[in-house]
Structure formats: C-alpha cells, structure tokens
C-alpha cells in the first residue's frame, strides 16, 4: 500500500535520510523505531510531502506521493497525526475535529463520525466548545487522533503519540491505535517507546542515523540482542 524506495532527504547540507526503503501493506500496523534524531519524523515528513526528497520514490496505492501537494494527501486517504500533538490551541475542540474533515463534502456522514469520535473519547464531549489549548496533554493527544480519523483515512501516520504522557494515558492511546487497526485501517506508527509499540505492531523497522538498520516481526526484533540493548533498556 505504501512503498518507500531509496529515499534521500536533506535539511540544507545535512542528510537526514539515507536510502530509506520500507513498505506497509494494507491492514498492517507497522512500527518505525529509533532513537531521537534517527530520522523517524523525517520519514513521516517525506511521506506527507511536508519536505521534498532529493532522491528516491514514495508510492501510495500506485500514486507517486512526491508529486502530490501536501493538502491533497487527505484526499488519497492518508492522515498524519503529528509529533507533539500540534492541535490548534486557539480553536475549540469541535473546530479542531471539524478541520480534520475539512475536505469532506458529506456533511451527514461527518456528523456521524463526529459522534463516533466523541463516543470513543468521552472526555472530549464535555470540552467540545473549550479551546484546545486548555486541554491536558493526554486529552490533546486524543483530540489529535480524533482529528486525524475525521478524514476517514485508509492510512494513519502516528508520530510519537506517547511522547510526554503519563503511563496510564499511554496505555489508553495504544489501545486506541490498536482499535483503529482493528477497524481495518492501515497504520504506520513512529515511536521511541519501542517496547509498547512492538506490543501492538505486526512488523517493525529500526532506523539509525537516517538508515534502516533492521526489519522484522516484533518477535524477531525483541529477541535481537542489539535492539534489546539499544531500545529496550535490556
């Protein structure tokens, strides 16, 4: 479904991605692991056309993503849930969610989806007209996820959804991601929290300084000594 081939990406003169190739099949939950600065976010930025790549190709269901303007991505069925949540703090919760469905024309369906998001994240209901900036970190993450889902994506990209959240909340977030996958959506999950990510992933890649170091099922990776030492504190 999603195919990256030998992607090279630069920030000025600094190369952030070196020949990154990875693929996500339909219905899969793939985790992309790595330390800070390994290039995880850059990979996502390349996929969602937020930063042009220098070489390589990115295809989604046959469409060449490098030729698509960023705002058309949702039309193709890709939603990006960005790092650090980045909800629109001055907008209300409801407005944030509605923006998720910005390009959708089916008003009735959008309403239904909105209700569904509210039922999935009951804490958002009571705060719907509150501005998003006043929400707690966990609530903002839920909002960001809800916002991403409002576009009815086929593929959801999560960038560090557990970052800076309390363990209990992290648990909830990962439950939700699992649920999303179970609904038949494809998920690419970028995480530093490798242990948790591997707990729900079908497959995983490990990035190190801009290159893919390892690839495999959670079981394979969990048994890999190197991974254990580097990412699992083992």
């Amino acid at each position: 479904m999603l195919e990256l081939n030998n992607v090279n990406l630069y920030y000025g003169r600094i190369q952030a991605l070196k020949n990154v190739s990875l693929s996500v099949r339909e219905g899969e939950l793939v985790a992309l692991l790595g330390a800070n600065g390994a290039g995880k976010t850059s990979t996502l930025r390349a996929i969602s056309c937020m930063h042009p790549i220098k070489e390589g190709s990115i295809h989604f269901s046959g469409t060449d993503l490098t030729k698509v303007p960023a705002h058309r991505l949702v039309d193709l069925g890709i939603a990006h849930c960005p790092e650090g949540r980045q909800v629109f703090g001055r907008l209300s919760v409801k407005e944030n969610l509605e923006l998720g469905a910005f390009r959708r024309k089916d008003k009735e369906e959008v309403k239904r989806d909105l209700e569904w998001i509210y039922s999935t994240f009951p804490r958002l209901v009571e705060r719907r007209s509150q501005s998003a900036g006043t929400l707690s970190g966990g609530e903002q993450q839920m909002l960001a996820i809800g916002r991403a889902l409002m576009s009815r994506p086929k593929l959801v990209l999560f960038d560090e959804p557990s970052l800076g959240l309390a363990p209990l909340i992290v648990e909830q977030i990962f439950d939700v991601i699992k649920k999303i996958k179970e609904q038949g959506r494809t998920v690419l999950l970028v995480e530093q929290n490798a242990f948790q990510a591997l707990g729900i992933a079908d497959r995983a890649y490990v990035l190190e300084t801009g290159t893919i170091k390892l690839e495999g099922t959670p079981e394979q990776l969990l048994s890999n000594e190197e991974v254990k030492r580097a990412y699992l504190g083992g």
């Binding site: 969602s48 705002h71 991505l73 907008l91 923006l99 910005f102």
Partner: protein, 298 residues
Amino acid sequence: MDSTYLLQQIVNGIGLGSIYALVAIGFSITYSILRLINFAHGDILMIGSYCALFIFLSGKVPLVVGLLLAMGFAALIGMLVERIAYRPLRTASEESMLITSIALSILIENLGILTVSAQPRKFVFPEVFAKNHELAGVTFNNMTILTVGVAVLLMILLTFFVKNTRLGTAMRACSENIGVARLMGIDINIVVAIAFAIGSALAAVAGIMLGGQYGRIDPLMGFIPGLKAFVAAVIGGIGSIPGAVLGGYLLGLFEILLVGFLPIEYTGYRDAFVFILLILVLLLRPNGILGSAEGRKV
C-alpha cells in the same frame, strides 16, 4: 480642560482610529499566516483610493457600488502581489520577505508616480458628507459617521467570517500552525490569497475614508498610515484581529489626545511618544495587549 473638549478629542480619535484599525487588520492577518511584515500594505491603501477616485467620484455609479468595486480591485491587486512576489518566498526567511515588501512598496509608489503623476488629486465626497452635526457641544460630520460606521460594519462581518465559516476556521488554523493545517487538507495558497484579498480590501476602504477626510490623495499617501497601522497591530498583538482593532483605536486616540493635551512646546514630539509607547508595550507585554505567545518550534 472641560469635558466637551475631551469628548471632542475622543470623537476625533475614534475617527482616526477606525482607519488605523482597518489597515492594521490586513497587517495582522497576513502576518499571522506568513510571518510577513508587509510594508507594501500601505500602498495597497493608495491603490484603493485611486481606484475609488476613478470609479465613484466620477459620479457615474452609486457610492456603495463604487466602494465595493474599489475593494474588489484592491483585493485583486493584493492577491496578484502575493502570487507574484510572496508565494515564491514561502520557505524563505522573514528578512527576505521583509525586503521584498520594501521593494514592492518602492515599486508601487513609483509606478503610481509614473501613471497618475505625483500631483495630489482632489478627493472629495459628495456635499452631504461634509454636513456637520453637533451633539452635546461635540461637532462631527457625516464623513466621520461614515468612516466609523463602515469600519465597524466591516469588522463585524470579518469577525463573523473568521469565526463561523469553513474558510475562516481554516484561516485561523493556518495562523496557528501552517504545517498541520496543510495536513488537514487545507490549501494554503487559497487561504493566503484570501487573507491578502481581505486585508487589501479593508486597506482600500481605509484609503477611501482617509482621502475623504483629508480631501486629497497622492501616490505616497500610504506609507505613514501603513507604518502607523503596523504599530497599531503590534500594540494590539500582531496576529490577532481583535488586537489589531483595539490597537488601531488606541493609537488613534493616543495621537489625538497627545496633540490635544500636551503643552504646545511638546506637541512636536508626538511621533516620538507614539513610538516610545510602542516600545513600552513591547517590553511590558512582548506579544501585544491581546496577542498570545507565539509557539516556538524547538
């Protein structure tokens, strides 16, 4: 000083403030989305007033139609300027955009001199607008009423647009986080074009009102109101529409009251006081009165 005098000065201040507010809004919305200080904004004001001069002061179309046409034309110019000069700089530094806006300002002013000549033109509204009213010892004319009325009406419309429409929400989203707004499927180019169109249309109205109050327009008329409106936007909190409005009225009142109440020897220092006020506001509330802290991406 008696209270009538004070009241009179306040009325004058509100008249001037309305114009500043209209221009400041344009500054604020383009800044909030692109982080662009658009020094050419004042020149759009000039274009709007000339457009009005050629359209409705010819007496061939009703005032309202003329006003709308001038607004539309200015909006078109605003979008054109954005398309040609600013869009290629989306990813460039703030300084590059600043310089571009200065260059644009020079360009527009000189094109103005070349096409409509440097001679000031008479810009007089129909006789009715010069009619004076007196209320509790305060005199004001229909022009002032029109200025304040139109300004307030436009600001209400704008607030409604921004708060209650899909595009308005998109605009607010862009002003907060342009990158994520794109991920939502918002076409930034459209939003920016609309922001420029709105800002330019409002500036055109300000130019027309300014011309009407002063009675004359010339190709260099936009610079000072542009600069003052920029100060107003910063005082109010650049990036915030209510802030721009508040800043505009505060600055208008402050200027008029300074001239009204300072001893004669010091009235010449007015602009110095205006900018000292600006610096003080910046130091005490670095994001302006109504501005919220800018999120810094680390």
